[in-house]
Structures are given as structure tokens and as C-alpha cells.
């Protein structure tokens, strides 16, 4: 079907782009999850009034297109503050906060879903707040939150396609570079799409499986 001039070197070039996609995603999800858990617990504990500033800022990350977040952060750091920061760092920073914003919601939802009676029971058994959190809330909330978290991590991987705007050559950008040289748009785009699909699909299925398994008890 395709008579391609795609060589081994080009495949390596694509693989490098894919590696960048995975690296940016891994960093963003790791940092974003830690921050998200912190923000999520804070929002739950502090109550709506005290947490309002945090809620507002996190909400911004969910209400403004990621593309604009990246462009604005890049312009603010580089043009306004004149700090030398690589596009890679800007991309990771913005994606981490973006992840944290969604993750905080998931964490808060997870904690809220733990019945308060269970937690009161734990506290009346003499557990401290910290013990209650680690021994009661964490295991129960994880079951509720994990499938959504997997969805979030995959979402971040797909959204990382936008970091090209701060000069990071990830998978989709490397595909476009090859399209420029080889002029085989359909074939190259299909390879690119297949790559995302191959990573995302099994993990999404696994998330769905967990959700199904854990929702029955």
C-alpha cells in the first residue's frame, strides 16, 4: 500500500520523539501527582473558604487551553522575567501544574468517597489523623481514585503533544519534521497515531478493568 522512503535513521528519529513524549509525561505525572495529592488533601482539610485561593488557581489550569498556558508561561519566564530556562523545563513545569490541578480533584473526590463513619470509627479507636489518613483513607480512596488517575496520566501523555510550542521536539513534532522532508503525510501520521494508541490503549483497558473489579465490592 505504501511505497515509502522512510529509512532506519528516520525511525530512530521518530523513536527519539516518542522518547521525549514519554519523558515529559513521566516527569509531569510524577511531580503533578505529588502536588495534586498535597493540594487535594489541603482542599479537603481546609474547607472551601480557606482553600479558595488554591481552588481558584487550580481551576485556572483547567479552564484555559493548555496551549495558552504554555505560551504564557514561556513568555512570562523568558520575555518578562528574562530568566534563561529551556523549553523542556517550561514544558515540564506547566504540564506538572496542569496534572496537579486535575489530580487534586481526583484526590479530593477519593477522600470524600470514604464514608465519614469509617473514619470516625478509626479515630475513636485512638488512631491519629495521620494514621487515619495512611491506614484507612489511603487504601479506600486509592481504589476509587486510581482508575481516574490512570485516565489522567494518559490524558497528560496525549496533551503533551502541545509542548512543540515551546520548541520541544516530541513525537507529533518529529512526525511533522519527517513529513516536511519525505512528503508522505498519511503514512507518517498513521505511524504516529499508532504509537500513541499502542501505549494508551492497553493502559486504558487496564484502568477500565480495575474500575470494574473494584466497583463490585
Amino acid at each position: 500500500m505504501f511505497n515509502t522512503s522512510l529509512g532506519i535513521d528516520d525511525l530512530i528519529f521518530l523513536a527519539q520523539g516518542a522518547g521525549m513524549t514519554i519523558l515529559v509525561t513521566a516527569i509531569a505525572v510524577a511531580i503533578g501527582t505529588v502536588l495534586g495529592i498535597a493540594f487535594g488533601i489541603f482542599r479537603y482539610q481546609a474547607g472551601p473558604v480557606l482553600a479558595a485561593p488554591v481552588t481558584f488557581v487550580l481551576d485556572l489550569f483547567r479552564s484555559i487551553p493548555l496551549l495558552i498556558q504554555l505560551v504564557l508561561a514561556n513568555a512570562f519566564i523568558g520575555t518578562v522575567l528574562r530568566l534563561k530556562m529551556s523549553g523542556f523545563t517550561v514544558a515540564c513545569a506547566v504540564l506538572s501544574l496542569y496534572t496537579a490541578a486535575y489530580c487534586a480533584e481526583i484526590v479530593r473526590g477519593g477522600i470524600q468517597a470514604v464514608p465519614s463513619n469509617t473514619r470516625r470509627a478509626a479515630r475513636s479507636l485512638g488512631m491519629s489523623w495521620f494514621q487515619d489518613m495512611t491506614h484507612i483513607v489511603l487504601p479506600l480512596a486509592t481504589r476509587i481514585a486510581l482508575p481516574s488517575w490512570i485516565g489522567l496520566a494518559l490524558g497528560v501523555m496525549k496533551d503533551s503533544a502541545l509542548v512543540y510550542v515551546v520548541q520541544v521536539t516530541e513525537l507529533l513534532k518529529s512526525t511533522q519534521i519527517l513529513i516536511t522532508r519525505l512528503q508522505e503525510p498519511l503514512f507518517l501520521l498513521l505511524i504516529c497515531g499508532a504509537f500513541y494508541f499502542i501505549i494508551s490503549f492497553p493502559i486504558a483497558r487496564f484502568g477500565g478493568y480495575l474500575e470494574k473489579r473494584w466497583s463490585n465490592d
Binding site: 529509512g7 535513521d9 528516520d10 528519529f13 505560551v71 514561556n74 513568555a75 519566564i77 523568558g78 520575555t79 522575567l81 528574562r82 530568566l83 534563561k84 530556562m85 529551556s86 523549553g87 510550542v165 515551546v166 520548541q167 521536539t169 511533522q176 519534521i177 519527517l178 513529513i179 516536511t180 522532508r181 519525505l182 512528503q183 503525510p185
Partner: protein, 269 residues
Amino acid sequence: MKFTVAFSGLVLAAGLALPAHADMLDDVISSGTLRCAVVLDFPPMGMRDKDNKPAGFDVDYCNDLAKALGVKAEMVETTFPERIPALMSGKVDVGVASTSDTLERAKTVGMSVPYYAFEDAVVANEKSGIKTWEDMKGKTVGATAGTYEAIWLEGKVKEWGTGTFRPYQSQADVFLALSQGQIDATVATTEVANSNIKSGNFPGLVNAGKTPMVPDYVSLFTRRDEYGFINYMNLFINQQVRTGRYAELYHKWIGDGEPADLTIHGVYR
């Protein structure tokens, strides 16, 4: 109130504690690397070779500038609309990206004297039947957002009052759209038009003759306030012509014949 604002400004400035700014020329020399914004979907000025490494007239020009400065050159690929933001956000030190020296851009960045001059031609899809630039009237045309060609073409479409103008985010997308027939024609520099048509990657594209545009002088650019660097670049461009390197690069990337005259008759720069 004013006092508080000024005071907090001072505190913040002290907090940021920016080291005394050596100028950019010093910075580049001491860092040992010259970061050039290059556009790599604009053959023969900027492209990628078989190993996907940057190549072309602009890439060589950046390498020459780095050599003159005694530093290593680093190519940062940008698209046309992103090249000036890339400089403004500190991702690059200089743009070697076939940048037309428009007055609008000069409000933001500092332009050197011209280092190359293009003439622009219409590139059309054969099926559109476009033979001259005036045939573009009423057709769907496109160009890379924010470029000299795009501004001219969009202006023409508005003037004609019929047809559609589409800005794409990269030169590559313009040619892709053109070869697929999504747009009927674009305006590109003669060099780029011929190089793309000759490459054989785009069957069905034809050069439909020159446009009545003013020749497109392109400059190196850096931050507006870096006079030291701009001065250096001006002398460098002068030396490139004087030593014959300009003609050499022309023959290497564009072809036989005389490279464009970079002086403008009857006026000083």
C-alpha cells in the same frame, strides 16, 4: 500608595537579584555557544538533510557567525511565527531565519543590515489554472502566518474582496496544503519555490511567475537593545560579502549566477 508600589518594586528587584548584565555579545562569547533560531522547512535556506540534521544557507550562515565569534553554533528549530517569540523568551541569541526587515518587527527586535534578498513568486497547484499572480483573485490562497508574503497576500485578498486567505503555522503545512489541493496557490520566495518544485516531492506544483512585491530583504535579528551585537552582525555581513563567502554560499545552496545585491540605491542605512 505610589511609595509602596515603588518600594515593593525595589524589594522584588533586589529579591530577583539579577547579576549585572554583561551585554549579549559578552554573554555569547563567555557561554561558548551561539544559539540560532533557524527555520527548517524553508529549503534551500533551511531544511533537514538525509540524517535529519539541520542544513541550508541559513544554517551555514549561523555556523559562520559562530566561527567568527569563536564559539559553537547550536541550531534551535522554530517555525516562522515562533522565531521572534523564541528570541524574546530567551530560547535563542540570534535569528538566522530569512526574516524580512519589516518596520512592525523592528518595534520588537533589532534588525541587522540585509544579509540576503529574495524575490517572491507565485506557486500554484496546476489544477487551479493560475498562470499569473493576478489569477489568484477569488481563489483560496495561503501562506505562513505573519511572514512578509502572508501579510502581502492577505492584504491582496482583502483588496480584491473575493477569495479566501488561510494562514498556516509552518511553511511545511503551506506546501502540504498546496500539494493536496487544499489551497490553490501561495506566495513564496523564488529560491524556495524552485527548490520545492525541483525536489520532486510535490508533483503538480508550478511556478506561476513573479509577484509585484518590493524585493524581500532579510536580516539577522537579536534583542532590540543589544547594539553591540547588532553592530557586530552588520560588520559580519559586510565581511561575508567582501570575502566572497556570500557568493560561495549562494552557489552551494541556490545555484549559478550572481547573488542578489544587498545595497539599496539612493539611500543610507
